[in-house]
Amino acid sequence: MTNRFFLLVFAISILSFTFPVVPAYEVGDLVENFTLKNVDGKMTSLYDFTNEEGIILVFTCNTCPVSQAYEQRIIDLHKKYRKKGFPVIAINPNDVTIRPGDSYDAMVDRAIDKDYSFHYLHDEDQEIAMRFGAAKTPHVYLLQNVNDEFKIAYIGSIDDNSNDETAVTRYYLEDAIAALQAGNTPDPAKTVAIGCSIKWRVN
């Protein structure tokens, strides 16, 4: 009996180590606060932004060609929407040993070169990307401020053409923001798109 009990305890402890205890966020979930280092050297928390209507949170990086194809659009989105209460916060989750081009120093360089006016945070431990269930770059999460908490309103891509901005026919993210501004629920609330897999650290 005691043997069995210990076996059970052992099995449970192994399982809890093997599988993430907390499932990834879905649309409608409230987001816990997090704090990451910004390219300006300062620690930045999500809940520093509770005076905003919402946040365009985008997992992106320096090295992925799809992220690069969207880079100017991300810069433009911030310029357009920060005035409307939806600033961009970009997060780079890639493991530095796999992608040296995504190191903190390389992020700082890129932010200066491309004149980023938004926060570009380094998710060094990859915990935030893991918590959000981010799979690729770019991967967008539109957060809505609900009584000074952030709720996920939309997950997916920025629009329907990563290669050619002039050929875009569906502005998924901007439509989702417009829906929130009109007091509606974004539809679609989720889209999928080809991107670069996040480079997860190999233990």
């Binding site: 992925c64 060609p65 799979a135 690729k136 991967h139 997916g156 891509s157 329907d160 053409n161 990563s162 290669n163 050619d164 050929a167 026919t169 569906r170 998924y172 679609p188 889209t191 999928v192 798109a193 080809i194 991107g195 670069c196 897999s197």
Partner: protein, 170 residues
């Protein structure tokens, strides 16, 4: 003297012909839309169809390609059923000449490569698999007569492909 010149000219023409035919062969990449890929799947008949979604910019994709090629060379048939490997490049269509074809030449790919020019991903990714977020490499393993339709979003090795084939088609 005349015959030597003639022979040299013949040789020269021969070399030109070879290089032309080689470059034609190497550039034989059809640019397709999703409907055409859907048709290929629908009409795969009794062929064991392996579809690999990749891009020249995707490092893990590039890493696994030699294993897929080796698999395809080794398994033209299995249990008297044809095995077909189709590489579906998700590079942008304007990168066909500058990236995809040079890559194919460099890797000396023998398997068929098509470029899927359909960047409205949200319209077709869910038709391949409902839980596909868009990460590549991704691979489909299809054998219609037995309703086998398997989807993998991960790098696959030669041994994994071989095991997949032998375990599914027995």
């Amino acid at each position: 003297m005349k015959t030597t010149i003639f022979a040299a000219m013949k040789m020269f023409l021969f070399l030109i012909l070879i290089s032309v035919s080689f470059s034609l062969r190497a550039q034989d990449v059809a640019v397709i839309h999703f409907e055409q890929l859907e048709n290929r799947i629908a009409n795969s008949g009794d062929t064991i169809l392996l579809i690999n979604f990749w891009a020249t910019w995707c490092h893990p994709c590039v890493e696994e390609i030699p294993d897929f090629e080796k698999f395809s060379t080794q398994y033209k048939q299995y249990n008297n059923k044809p095995v077909k490997l189709l590489f579906v490049s998700l590079d942008y269509a304007d990168k066909l000449k500058s990236k995809v074809i040079p890559f194919m030449k460099e890797k000396q790919l023998l398997s068929e490569v098509v470029l899927l020019d359909d960047t409205d991903y949200n319209s077709w990714l869910p038709k391949i698999n409902g839980s596909w977020e868009g990460v590549i490499p991704a691979t489909l393993f299809i054998y219609k007569p037995s309703d086998i339709y398997l989807f993998y979003v991960q790098q696959l090795t030669f041994n994994q492909l071989e095991k997949l084939l032998t375990s599914q088609l027995n």
